[in-house]
Symmetry: D2
Subunit: 341 residues, 4 copies
């Protein structure tokens, strides 16, 4: 259930609504639109009666939410969520491009990649410090040392950074450095991690799991949002199908579907999605043409020597070519790609 407040509702009006909700054993959540305020209600809402709220002067409308996901739904908030990170906007008209290597391997490697990306005008840099790997014997990331190197990148190059939090134990350390915290596909239903992330202020980029339906993804976002953190970016990164010519099946259908059902921004990671570097630019273009709010691309200066995922990484030079194409594409789909120039 969502209660839409009138434009002139006062703070004490809102408190009265919240009190009435709590009285019935339900939970109120404030959802801020650009003009109006909505009060989302979760819990045993069948016990609530619309009439009880409609008779209040400050209430404009009461809606039942038909989907299992509530706070992340367009029914609760019809306008796009726009996330502000140090003045940089994500969502709405803004097209965001994030790039960087899969893993942080060394100071040298990190700066060799970040430098050219900064020069191209990029604002967000990705690189993994903690790497969840299928094999216990594979490179697991530089961990704390990696986070320190990311701090240096931030300080010296002025880039904002995104890196993955792979467990609750290291989430706080990641939160201290990261402008955006990534929660990976394999952790999409690690509910303890989601809940803890929901109590942070950092924007969270939540990747879709390999077998997660779009509804599952939105439910996982709901876990974060219901803890109070509305700054969630969804990210499509490929699902598992029978096809073996690609690493995963990047499901671009998810983009317009999510746009319809949710107000949250939706990004696409074509690097993991298709998993073959020379086809990444085509899929990045496809993602933006489908309406994605951003793309996240793996870039490595020496893909052949990368400690992880080299096969799906673009060189800075190939990345730059793609970036120019994306710049041309953006206005056709009513987006702007703001580069620092």
């Amino acid at each position: 259930m969502v209660i839409i407040m009138k434009l002139d509702a006062s703070e004490s009006d809102v408190e009265k609504v919240k009190a009435k909700i709590a009285q019935k054993g339900c939970h109120p959540y404030l959802v801020y639109g650009t003009q109006k305020l909505a009060v989302g209600v979760t819990g045993p809402t069948t016990q609530l009666d619309e009439e009880e709220f409609l008779i209040m002067d400050s209430v404009q409308e009461v809606l039942r939410v038909s989907k299992k996901f509530k706070l992340v739904s367009r029914e609760v908030k019809s306008e796009d969520t726009i996330i502000d990170i140090n003045g940089e906007k994500i969502g709405g008209k803004h097209l965001t491009v994030i790039a960087g290597p899969c893993s942080i391997e060394s100071r040298q490697q990190l700066f060799d990649i970040a430098g050219p990306l900064k020069e191209m005008g990029l604002k967000f840099f990705r690189a993994g410090a903690y790497k969840p790997r299928t094999s216990p014997y594979a490179f697991q990331g530089l961990k704390e040392k990696g986070l320190e190197l990311l701090s240096e990148i931030k300080k010296e190059l002025g880039l904002m950074v995104i890196t993955e939090a792979k467990d609750t134990e290291t989430l706080d350390a990641v939160a201290e450095v990261s402008d955006i915290i990534q929660i990976g596909a394999r952790n999409m239903q690690n509910f303890s991690l989601l809940e803890k992330a929901g109590r942070l202020k950092n924007p969270i980029l939540l990747k879709r799991g390999l077998a997660a339906s779009i509804e599952d993804l939105l439910m996982s976002a709901e876990y974060i949002v219901s803890q109070g953190n509305f700054n969630v970016i969804l990210c499509e990164r490929g699902i598992r199908t029978f096809e073996t010519y690609t690493r995963n099946t990047l499901d671009l259908n998810a983009v317009p579907v999510i746009k319809k059902h949710s107000h949250l921004p939706i990004f696409v990671d074509p690097s993991h999605g298709i998993g073959i570097w020379d086809k990444v630019p085509a899929m990045a273009m496809g993602a933006v043409a489908c309406g994605a709010d951003g793309v996240m691309i793996e870039v490595h200066n020496k893909p052949d020597e990368a400690l992880s995922d080299g096969y799906q990484s673009l060189t800075p030079k190939n990345f730059e070519k793609m970036l120019h194409k994306l710049e041309q594409l953006a206005p056709i789909v009513d987006k702007e790609l703001d580069l620092c120039k």
Copy 2:
């Protein structure tokens, strides 16, 4: 195995090469590039010795094809296949838009839809006369009557038409009317139909099956091509996955992957692929941005009353909006959308 002939090879040179191939129990196929001629070889090629051909004066190069598909492979022919239909080109730099209703329902309906499409500058019109349906009790199409109506469309509006051949029995009748013959997803591995289509001259649009891998699709194209009909257009139209928010999972990854492995044009059918009309334009844009050579779109003047697939059909008005967007997008991906204007 492929034998690349020298530029100045004469017809009799080619005959000699073909004879040597046949002598060893293999089959020669001529594959025409824009300049050079290649002789593809299928059959027990392990019994052939490269040297035997290389010593012939007219032979420039001998290549082993590593993939299971041969004649449709880029290894055999590196240049894009461009299909010429009455002067209209498909493939290469050309972006083709095909539109029309799922089924032919009546003369009135057909002209009410085809008329506006013709005015928008479209050259190809789709509409089903024979409809393969999951249920034996569902509308199966107007059949011969439908083909007659398509003939009228051709004659009166000057549109080229594409319609589906659902079995070998009706293939010849379809071939008489159709500028392009569609072979549907459920028939992608109806090998008898493929072989018979391979003995026709009409271009064939071959749709990917619901569980067909990209390799399977290319092998099915190989069935057609190996019978002598090189005019094959591949068409991605969605695969089956666990996702239930979309009708199928349109697999746009197939576009750059097929472009890499095959010289044949690849189209996308977003209407069946995602299956929800208001998300079709996003996926059509995505398809073209990924590099598709064409899109095929379901358009109906009264989607609510359509006898089949109304839920995924655009109105002519919504289709026109999308068409303008595609026109803007084409040059960014080095394509031209030629409309009759």
Copy 3:
């Protein structure tokens, strides 16, 4: 809609019911149970009124069928269909084991395999004369010659045979030899073939397609049954999933689900299903324990030299071991495995 006739309804009573149905533009089908007769109705049944039938003295009950499939549904016929082939029963309490090679390769090969199977007491022998193959260059079967060899097997060994009909063109020739006609997975939605098979008397073994849902399979069976041929055996043979350690994912869940929804017998083909010979016996045991009415097993005397599917074929010796296990298992699941002994 199904109209259940009273026990003492006469032929002319039934004719009256059929006439009333036809009058409303619908189609009547007689469905014989062990005692009662039902009249299934397909077509625009919403125009029928239950009352019109209930007032007839000979009518006991009128039911609306809730599923899309009608005549194959348990709602229409609650008892198991038992198919009688020359006195041999399929379905109900009967457990059937069919075995033989994937392809007919030669007279020698066929008799070398069929001989030992006959001695083990088997009654049904499988072997492919027409082979639908993914590649146009792969062995396509001995065709007519294969059918002749099957006739010899029937005559000389007294085995009943099952072989695949791959298209409408060769269906009649196959029907002349086959005690059971197989329609393969790739043809499960070749509706023209299904319809033609529905006009034959031969029992049809219909394999589930790689991406076919259980509902799709039942709808395809409905195509056959609605043409008048009620002797349909369904066959689960593996679906396509992301798993690569097995050839397909044999979906044994289909067995109890189909038993619930349909009265038709359900067989399992573990050879194609899991695709690895040494795991076939485990899956055959699993199939029978899940309630399957039969299993179809690939057996080859020289698996290493088989022209197709050798990797999934058991030797006669390994097959015999499995057969003994199945014999022990049958009574636990209330089945009997009748061998000719």
Copy 4:
């Protein structure tokens, strides 16, 4: 790499082998068979030379492990792992049946279900205290209170218990009560949880994820084993496919495939797998017939009122019927079902 020690190798011989391995930067793991001891080696094994070990008197054989998973592989240990829990054996000839409700709802409910199961002779009781749920608004379990109730069950009824650990935070509390700790499908690649579980002594039942390949499952088991805890039970519980008539697609193919590749016991959970109570017995029978070492079944005294998964729960009475069938089936597949009688 695996180094097989001779039968008469002394402890100091083993220490020498371990030292040599460590010297090269690799990690030695002791793998105990019933007679022989093997030393598994992980890490940069390409730097190791077989000869260096073969010249040692105490070493019988040196093998390279071809799979990505090492310690869980049959190449490292050819005999079945048999886990001993308070004298009760799991794996090998032993067939284990675990039953109980999805969630602990109350003391009354727990004893009402556990009582009859104890009387039937069951030794292991399952019930969830911490419930990972797709929706943040769904019942999340009684948590600590649930663990206390499980302790009472253990004390009063003498049943051994299995319950799920959903995160690293509550793992220790779960470990204190649980005879077997379950790690759920959604946590199968929660590597931090796996590693922590690997440092416990409790047997771990590791469920296959919805999109996890068999190889992924074995790699996740490797995470646990490589931390020193060899007591891992694998559990197939259904994968995600396109089929909608079942909750998941229980993949019984995994049973013989895992038996081939790994020495660990493999259980099956048909309740989650097929997800429809009246089809659970068929799938449990199928699982055992395929070679499973155990089944885990959801039982509820009032399925209609269950707080979770009631639709897939058997009543005690229906469970008992199935149990008798399983008892009859076990000896046919060379297993024994030991009930306390």
